[in-house]
Structure formats: C-alpha cells, structure tokens
Symmetry: C2
Subunit: 378 residues, 2 copies
C-alpha cells in the first residue's frame, strides 16, 4: 500500500428478503448507518465507489455511482464496479487505488443488491451472466449446478461424505444466531441440512447461500485515522470458463490473491486471527481453506470436525455466519465482510474472537474467476 488506508467503520442493513425497501432505500440505510457510526460528515467524503452486479437486471437501475453521490449534499465523484459476486471486494480494492493515487482522501464504499423484486428463476439466470456466456452458460448450468459438479468431484477425490458437507453449513448457522444483521438466525442440526430439499445433486438447499437483498457501507480514509488499517488489498483473476482450467476443486485466483496479499502485508498466514470467507456453497468453504493454504487439499473438513473454525478455535472462519446464514446480496457481501472484520478488530463483533488483531476477508466472483483478499489489522 502506497498510503496507509484506515477503515473508519461502517454500517449495514439487515440481509434478507426485504420487500419493503428499494435498492436505493437499502443503499440509503447503509450510508446513513455508516456516517452515523463513524461520525464522518457526509461532506468529508470525496469519492464514492459502489459494488453491484444486477442493478440493471433486477432493479432497473444502472449508473449507481452517481445515484449514491446524490445522497450526499456535495455530489462527489462516484463510480460503480462489478466483478460478479466479488463486486463488493472489488469496490474496496478500487477505493484503495483511489486513496493511494491521491485522487481521494476519504472514500465511501458501498455494496448493495436488491434481488427479490424479480422472480427467483430470473435471478438464477442473471447470476449465470457471471460465467462465460459462450463456453459455459449454453450448457444450461446454474451456479448451483456448477458447484454441484465441484462438490461431486471433491467428494469423490477426497472421500468426503454428505454429512461432512453439512458440518460447514451447521457451523455458519450456529454462528449467525448472535448476528442481528443475519438473514437466518437459528441453529440447524446437521441431519436437517443433509435432508433438506435437493437443489443440484449432491447440493441441498442448506448447502446454498440464499438469494438476498441488502447493503453495506464502509468508510476508508488516508486523512482520518482509525485503529484499523488495511495491510493488503489484492485482486486476482483466472479463466472465466471452467473448460479452460486444470481442475474444478481448487481456484487459482484465491491462491494468487493470497500469496500476493501475504507478501504485501509481510504476514505469515498463521498470524491471522479470523477469516471471513466466501462460502457461497458448503463445498466452496472447504476449497477456499485449502487454497488459502491452511491445510492440504481434501483436508479442510478436519478443521470443522476439530471445531477449529469456531470463534474460540484456532482458525475462526465465518463467525459472522458467512454468506450461508447472513445471506448473500451479491455486491454487498464483500463490503459486509470488511465491516465484520472491522468489528472483530475493534471488539464489537457479536461473536467475538478473543484478542483478534489480524483479519482476512476473502470474496469470490463467479466460480472462482475473480478473487479479492483484504488483510486488516489493529
């Protein structure tokens, strides 16, 4: 980082099926919470970056940067960025670039998505725009379908059982009980998860993150200080199409982003106290932990069996509830992850990891075609 980028804090809406609110309404609520919680005057914000994927398709609203800028009295420069489900992490990364370039000193970063105003099938179809339209989409696969193929391959290769997968969702749902912003706040037994309706074999309903509405906002600054700063901000890509990859049980973009992030921060991965991970599907969590280098391929389930991933464990993962239980309003997720890391590092998290001083946020776009990794520290 060419400049020290401080995380001043932020705010979010509850994630869920928020019928009573529009996309703009969600954004306004998150921005109001962010300015309230940080005490930043709106006029101190000199740029706005918003991460959003389906504003046009699902809410008939593109041009979101300028829409958000209009919520501030002085209409600062504003832009929208998109990298499918990594749009939120990309917004944070882009805001860092604007701060490091000197183009801005205090940036409002928003992630937002309003998906429930159109039929679920249309959302599923529009989400497939994140995949390669010429090579992958024509096969008729949905994202659940792609991750089902991944899960089958993973289970076959590493002898993982159906109940093993359920342990991942079980962990997220239990964590979310204490999170007031989570879409689902009750414990769900492993057996219920394993017997939930089949979506795309072997994935069941409770393996899948839900379709959600929501918005999150954080304020980053090089001028105003905060105990929390960004130690690394990395963005990485790999082939959009699955057919151009060596395999589907590991995502190269996570590996690239993680090695670059650790190098940028000068950290050892084992010094990180808590991780917010892109658990769009249960099997993805296992793959991510391996790609992040916390265990060998096929070994991640052991971390769940040993309770290492709980808030009191040796490697707390998604103690917010993750995408699975908090909900996954596409563009909002990556920004909400930064907010959850901030809460951990300032000891305001509902499911607090004791003594946490270093946190990692991992946001994924498509089937691992884009990855952002942010490292935060106090």
């Amino acid at each position: 980082m060419r400049e020290i980028v401080y995380v001043l804090g932020g705010g979010q809406t509850r994630f869920g099926e928020l019928w009573e609110s529009s996309l703009l309404g969600l954004i306004r609520e998150a921005v109001d919470q962010a300015t309230l919680n940080t005490g930043i005057l709106p006029t101190d914000i000199d740029a706005v970056v918003i991460g959003n994927m389906l504003g046009g398709e699902a809410a008939e609203q593109a041009h979101l940067g300028t829409l958000v800028s209009g919520l501030l009295p002085h209409h600062p420069p504003a832009l929208r960025v998109e990298a499918a489900c990594a749009s939120g992490g990309l917004a944070i990364h882009t805001a860092c670039a604007f701060l490091e370039s000197g183009k801005a000193e205090t940036v409002l970063v928003i992630g937002a998505e309003k998906l429930t105003d159109i039929p679920g099938d249309n959302v599923t179809g529009a989400l497939m725009h994140a995949a390669d339209a010429e090579k992958d989409a024509p096969s008729g696969l949905t994202f659940a379908g792609v991750f089902a193929l991944t899960a089958l391959s993973y289970m076959h290769t590493y002898a993982i059982t159906r109940d093993d997968l359920s342990l991942v969702s079980f962990s997220s749902h239990r964590a979310a009980v204490s999170n007031p912003f989570a879409q689902f706040r009750r414990e769900i037994p492993v057996e219920t998860i394993s017997k939930s309706p089949l979506i795309a074999d072997p994935l069941r309903l409770l393996d899948c993150s839900p379709i959600s509405d929501g918005a999150a906002a954080v304020i980053l600054s090089t001028r105003r200080e905060s105990p929390v700063r960004i130690a690394a901000s990395q963005l990485a890509s790999e082939s959009l199409s699955l057919i151009d990859r060596p395999g589907i049980t590991s995502f190269g973009s996570t590996r690239t982003a993680m090695s670059h992030a650790l190098a940028e921060a000068g950290w050892d991965r084992n010094s990180i106290d808590c991780i917010e991970l892109h658990d769009c599907f249960s099997v993805a969590t296992l793959i991510h932990l391996e790609d992040l280098g916390y265990c060998e391929e096929g070994e991640a389930i052991r971390l769940f069996k040993q309770h290492d991933t709980e808030s009191s464990g040796s490697l707390p993962v998604n103690v917010s509830g993750g995408l699975k239980a908090c909900g996954h309003p596409i563009g909002a997720t990556g920004v909400k992850q930064i907010l959850d890391c901030y809460k951990q590092l300032t000891k305001q998290a509902p499911n607090q990891v004791k003594g946490a001083t270093r946190a990692l946020a991992h946001n994924l776009g498509g089937v691992g075609a884009t990855c952002t990794i942010h490292l935060l520290e106090v």
Copy 2:
C-alpha cells in the same frame, strides 16, 4: 496526476451493426489491434479495466474484467466499471487511479458494447436504467424523450431553429467521411436531417446517435513512455434525477469536471486544439460547448455557423465524426475518444487538425449526471 501517465496508443473495431461478432469477439479485435499498434507484449500488461454498461442485459455477459483478462496469457487483475454512457471515460479515469496508486504500471483499458443482438426497444428500455429508476423512468420517458425536452427548452430559451440543430449533425457526418471506423460515412445535407423521421419532437432520427456495436482499447503506462501523456483526468457527478436539478439546458457535471481538469493541467481552455465531445443528440453538443466555457449560454450554434468547429477552424469539435456519425457503442465511446485524441496528437488522424498539441475528451453518462474529462498533450 501523481504519476506521468503515458498513452501508448490503441486500436478499435469499426462501430456499427456488427451482426457477425459477439461482445467477446469485438473485445478481442480491439485488444489485438491495441497490442499490435503499440507493440506492447500482452505480458507487459499488469491490469485490465473495461467500461461497459449493458453486458448483462444485451449480451448475457457480466464479469467482463475477468473475461478480458483471460485473453492475456498471464490473467492479470481485471475489473469492469460502469457509469452508463460515461463507462468508457470512467474506465480511463479508473486506470489512471490504478497507475497513480502504484498498483499497476501498464494498464489495458477497453470500452465495449454489443447492443444489436436484442430488439431495439429492449435496448432503449435498458438504456433508461441510466436514469433515476424511482423519479424519472416511471414517467415513460426514453433518452430521446429526455433530450427532446432539453431541445425544446433550449430552442425556446435561445431562439434556435430546427435547421440550426441540423447543422450539428451535418458537421459530424461530413467529418466521418474520412474515418474508416465510423458507422456512417457519407455527407448528409442539412435539409435531409431536418426532414428525417421524427423520433421525439423536436428531435429527428438524424439528431440522434445510433444504437451501435463496437469496442475500443488503449494502453496506458507509467513505465513505458510515449509522446502523448494525460495532463488531467477528472470525474464529476450531479443529481441523477432531472427533477433535482435547477434546469435542463446545462449539465453541472461538465462544468465541474472541466474546471477541475483545467486546474489539474494548469491549462487555459483556449490552448486546447481539438475536442472530442459527447454528442449523443445534436442539442447536447451545443450545451456541452457552453458548459465547457467556449461561449455563453445559447451562443454555441454560432461556432457551427462560422465553421469554427471544422478541422481547419479555431475550435475543432468531433472531427472524428463524434457519436452521431461514428456510432455510440455505449461503453466503447469514451475509450474511442481517447484513441481519437491520441491520433490527433500523433498526426495519424484521418481528419487531422494541423499542429494539434492539446486535446480534450468529454464523455457523459445519463442526462449529464456523470461526466469525465481527459486532457491529453504532446
């Protein structure tokens, strides 16, 4: 600019109704031309920024950053940005931020749009996502309708005639005759323009930039030098909704971006030798010249009557043919403008302005809600 950002050159597809090509095909052609024309090795590119508005709605393809990254052997980090019709200028601005931040040293910037694969009415509807979905779109206005209101108000206020408006389109069409990349390459008499089919009174077909496919790419670098450099890169916003504005015959975002750009470069506006302007509709050109400070409100038509805007005039405007005659593949336009400025400054333009050393590119999003201005010099 915290760093000197050089424009190494670029390439583009022809703009037009390109039935034989997909969105990816257009992008590939522009990228190939850009690497060929600049002699840059693809592996020297360390980031990709693409400006696109309707990839999802019109080509079923979002996540375009990573799609483009996959055209390069080493898959550099990549992102898509969007600010409606200013997406291309925004991509250049964002690339500057990445270069100035030190996150990248050589950035491939692309603008691309593929619109003709869906019915024109659907394109018109999707383009209205650039306007305020809660305040403006519900009235049923199209963009041609909004600019028709603007034209009516402008003509009424400043006593401009129907034939006056036609002079603007006449000028663009005549300029495009020599541009091999332009969608329309023939002169069109003023009378023909004035009698072309009515679209939204008083705007006629030949007042309106067309629905086009196309892609353009430029390569910017802080590491590799070039005679052409970016002297200023500015992004500005004003209220997305028309009902929140003091009037509709001037766009505040242009005024803000221009004053900031001149201050950043330390230039006098009269030192600029040629201007690529966002002439989405004939009346817009007149408004822009006034907002850029080249004449008083209501006076711009005089520049056309005096032939000042021709390539041999005192203020050459859209000597490429502009959006009107070159075509307007939304996200591509702002990048193509930079390429046209580069050609002028390196004496490669088909309609060369003699001795041009300073150029301006003005790209607009929505009804003037976003504006980017880039100043280039040799």
